[in-house]
């Protein structure tokens, strides 16, 4: 359960309000801006990540392979008939237009990955679970998430033990691959489900589900917008308004 009260990063200055503002603002700009105007959300996302969540830049590695492919494909395959639909309509050659479209697409992807990553890394899990519980009306998300997080190593050990046991009995060869997979899946899942009874008794023995509920960690320590949140809110509003105004 420690994961619920400990943030992934040291970005304590932002609360969930600021994180949601960043996410909404940057995604709105990334979707609605085109051409050179896309530099606005890019600069905005980069500056925000630089100040509040530098780890977000590490998550760009998931599109490192994709971006060159998109750039090369768009440069090679963009045709003359699409030049008018290109944001850089001034480009006369389809290759130049295709390259510019590739750049635009890549910038949009970079903005989206940066902001989603910044959101997930900035917001505390206690606040996130409180947000989800508030939206869904259910009070059980924190319990399920915490239990799943804690029980995972145990289940992985069950899976590995079952895998080794089947292997030692001659399983996972070409002739018996399907039956081995079936035994592995059914045995691991059934063992895990058997554990559920003990887990639910243990939870109820600790008063989970009792009539008097304890407050959610985020509610015990209410979310109050910090000065950084307010600064982000004002800055985001200004950037969005100026972007739409300059775009016309």
């Amino acid at each position: 359960m420690a994961i619920l009260v400990k943030s992934q990063t040291d970005t304590k200055s932002l609360s969930v309000c600021g994180a949601v503002t960043i996410l909404a603002g940057a995604l709105l700009l990334a979707v609605s801006m085109a051409g050179a105007f896309l530099l606005i959300p890019l600069v905005y996302a980069a500056v925000v990540c630089l100040f509040f969540c530098r780890e977000a830049f590490l998550d760009l590695k998931q599109i490192v392979m994709l971006v060159p492919v998109v750039m090369m494909t768009s440069t090679a395959l963009w045709q003359a008939e699409y030049i008018d639909t290109s944001p850089m309509a001034a480009a006369s050659s389809p290759y130049v237009a295709g390259f510019l479209v590739g750049v635009e697409m890549s910038v949009r992807a970079v903005v989206m990955v940066l902001t989603v990553s910044a959101f997930v890394r900035t917001v505390k899990f206690s606040e996130l679970s409180y947000l989800i519980e508030s939206v869904s009306g259910s009070k059980s998300f924190s319990f399920v998430f915490g239990l799943a997080f804690n029980v995972r190593p145990y289940l992985e050990r069950i899976g590995r033990d079952t895998l080794n046991a089947i292997k030692m009995r001659g399983g996972f060869r070409l002739g018996n691959m399907v039956s081995s997979v079936r035994y592995l899946l059914s045995s691991t899942t059934l063992n895990a489900l058997r554990k559920c009874q003990d887990l639910s008794y243990a939870a109820e023995a600790r008063s989970f589900g009792s009539a008097r509920s304890t407050a959610h960690p985020a509610r015990r320590d209410p979310i109050r917008p910090s000065p950084a949140d307010l600064a982000i809110l004002v800055t985001t509003a200004l950037v969005v308004v100026l972007s739409f105004a300059s775009k016309g």
Binding site: S138, A148, S200
Partner: protein
């Protein structure tokens, strides 16, 4: 002490109502089932997914989605209440954030969408075999369609033009008519669907047997 002795039903009702007044219907056992199956799903995504990704094999989504369908259908039959599958999906998607790879956007959305598809299907059709196989089929098909949906979302509408151009250029290069290329894609979609049907039915049959074994 007397409170506990005199109000056991109220305690259960509070849990079942989610302590929020709205009837959610999840008992502690239900929540534990959801958590444990979500943990299994996350384990399969992390261990098997990482291995398959490292091997750079095509269609690595097929076994991963099949296991996900198996676990979702099992969970839905054991906890036949609205919201159980989507709760599982949200937990797995967020647990994925804590895995070694960092915040990986595309698998998170894929996991959530697969859970949403099974949730909708089994909410409409109930925890029946037919709903299980339809839900499994749609979730497995989603794993194939997912990149073609997520990439235009991520990169913008121009991605569709790139797909069209890639399809026609690839057809010309291989000497295949574009209609046949579309046919190949349809065959792949159907193949995914068949695997999903099998996973759904296997999950449904397994859950019935598991329920029998667990009630002993």
């Amino acid at each position: 002490m007397s409170r506990i002795a005199t109000e056991p039903d109220k305690n259960y009702a509070e849990t079942a109502r989610g302590q929020g007044g709205r009837p959610r219907g999840f008992s502690t056992r239900d929540l534990v089932y959801i958590a444990v199956l979500a943990a299994l799903w996350t384990g399969s995504e992390d261990i098997l997914g990482a291995q398959l990704h490292a091997m750079n094999l095509p269609f690595t989504g097929i076994p991963l989605a099949a296991i996900a369908v198996f676990l979702m259908v099992t969970g839905r039959v054991l906890v036949p209440k609205a919201g159980s599958t989507i709760l599982m999906g949200i937990v797995v998607a967020l647990l994925k954030v804590l895995s070694i790879g960092g915040v990986v956007l595309s698998p998170m959305i894929a996991i959530f969408m697969e859970a949403l598809v099974v949730e909708l299907t089994m909410s409409v059709g109930g925890a029946t075999r037919l709903a299980s196989l339809i839900g499994g089929m749609l979730a497995e098909m989603w794993s194939f369609v997912h990149p073609f949906v997520i990439q235009p979302l991520l990169f913008g509408g121009q991605m569709v033009v790139i797909y069209q151009r890639t399809l026609s250029a690839g057809s010309q290069m291989l000497g295949v008519a574009p209609a046949n290329a579309i046919m190949i894609i349809l065959v792949l979609v159907v193949l995914h669907g068949v695997v999903g049907i099998v996973a759904g039915v296997v999950g449904w049959r397994f859950s019935l047997r598991a329920r029998r074994i667990l009630s002993r």
